[in-house]
């Protein structure tokens, strides 16, 4: 499982465990599964899906970054909105 937090300047929108994350990186979507290598990437504009096919939550994000360390995923974005 991945421990995920979705953070915007105003609040933490999501905090919990999911089995997969698909995020809109600056150059296209990036999928994260457990045991992913440490990664740091910039985000573009698009839809962030938590869980398989977005089962655990879907957010519209714009800019910011995504960081993966030891199954902890941090999505830090300037504008995030739950879908």
């Amino acid at each position: 499982m991945l421990k995920v937090s979705v953070i915007s300047p105003e609040k933490t929108l999501f905090e919990g465990e999911v089995d997969a994350v698909v995020a809109p990186a600056f150059d296209g979507e990036v999928g994260i599964l457990p045991q992913h290598a440490p990664l740091m990437t910039l985000l573009g504009y698009g839809e962030l899906r938590l869980g398989l096919a977005g089962a655990s939550g879907r957010f519209r994000v714009n800019g910011g970054f995504l960081q993966v360390i030891h199954d902890h995923v941090r999505v830090v974005t300037e504008a995030a909105e739950a879908l």
Partner: protein, 288 residues
């Protein structure tokens, strides 16, 4: 009984004033709670952003990114002063304005040209009054600031800094230490001072996409905006804290005053009754 009537009127006005200050105290208390929640909620983002920038930052970057450029000499600086839109919060606004004035004086002593930006009615009102040119001002966001408000405030200034028309940008805001301690603080947000690397900072071997440079240059503006956003939320919370204590002491003073007034009123009433009885008894005695 003219004195008694006067006292009664004063008791009435003091009572109604106390009712108002007590209500304002309660309103401020509940607003303070919400403002505090916002201060708390802003922390994870600021920490996350600070961590990343400090872990990717290297001194060599400073020469390449305009937001990190350290001008050899400050010639033009912008000061952004945040105050409340409303008064009735003790010395809160006055303290912020004083801090800003000191900063402006210090800068002018070093012959830096200063332009003034404002958020909040009180600050802009004062500086207009003393005849300072106001470059930009915004009101109406001090109570519930959003991240968009922060970008609206700082983006133009940030662009000017990148262009090189400004050499430094300062923010004067109320640092929120506790509801009772909100010291006015001046801090320089541009050029960016990268946050200190947190202890035990073994940076894991990241896959970086795109390069570290690109990530830093993309995240620096976010960091600057976030600093402004945090200053806004802290000032908003500070305002409510200051108003609560101001209104609490006003209510306490009204209570003290009321008890004094009531005591005086009762004393004069009693004195006049005693006097009347004495007069009647005296009159009756004279008739016998």
């Amino acid at each position: 009984m003219a004195k008694g009537k006067e006292l009664k009127a004063r008791i009435r006005t003091t009572e109604s004033t106390r009712k108002i200050t007590r209500t304002m105290e309660m309103v401020a208390t509940s607003k303070l709670k919400r403002a505090l929640d916002r201060v708390q909620a802003a922390r994870p983002y600021a920490n996350a952003l600070g961590d990343v920038i400090s872990s990717l930052y290297t001194p060599e970057l400073a020469e390449r990114f305009p937001l990190l450029r350290q001008p050899e000499q400050e010639r033009r600086a912008a000061v952004l002063l945040m105050t409340a839109d409303r008064g009735l919060c003790g010395g809160f606004n006055a303290n912020l304005i004083r801090e800003a004035r000191h900063l402006v004086e210090r800068l002018r002593d070093r012959s830096v040209e200063v332009e003034l930006h404002f958020e909040g009615r009180r600050g802009v009102g004062y500086f207009r009054y003393i005849g300072e040119p106001v470059t930009a001002s915004r009101i109406g966001i001090s109570e519930r600031p959003t991240a968009d408000d922060a970008s609206a405030l700082i983006d133009g200034i940030m662009r000017q800094f990148i262009d090189g028309t400004l050499d430094a940008v300062y923010v004067v805001y109320a640092q929120f230490k506790s509801p009772l301690s909100t010291p006015p603080t001046a801090s320089r947000i541009l050029p960016v001072t990268p946050p200190a690397r947190t202890a035990g900072g073994t940076v894991p071997d990241y896959i970086l996409a795109p390069s570290a440079d690109a990530i830093v240059s993309e995240l620096l503006p976010l960091y600057v905006r976030n600093q402004v956003y945090r200053a806004l939320v802290e000032t908003a919370a500070g305002e409510q804290g200051a108003r609560r204590s101001a209104m609490k002491s006003a209510t306490d003073n009204a209570t003290d005053m009321l008890s004094l007034l009531r005591r005086t009123y009762n004393r004069t009433r009693q004195a006049s009754i005693t006097q009347e009885i004495a007069e009647i008894v005296g009159g009756a005695a004279a008739l016998e």
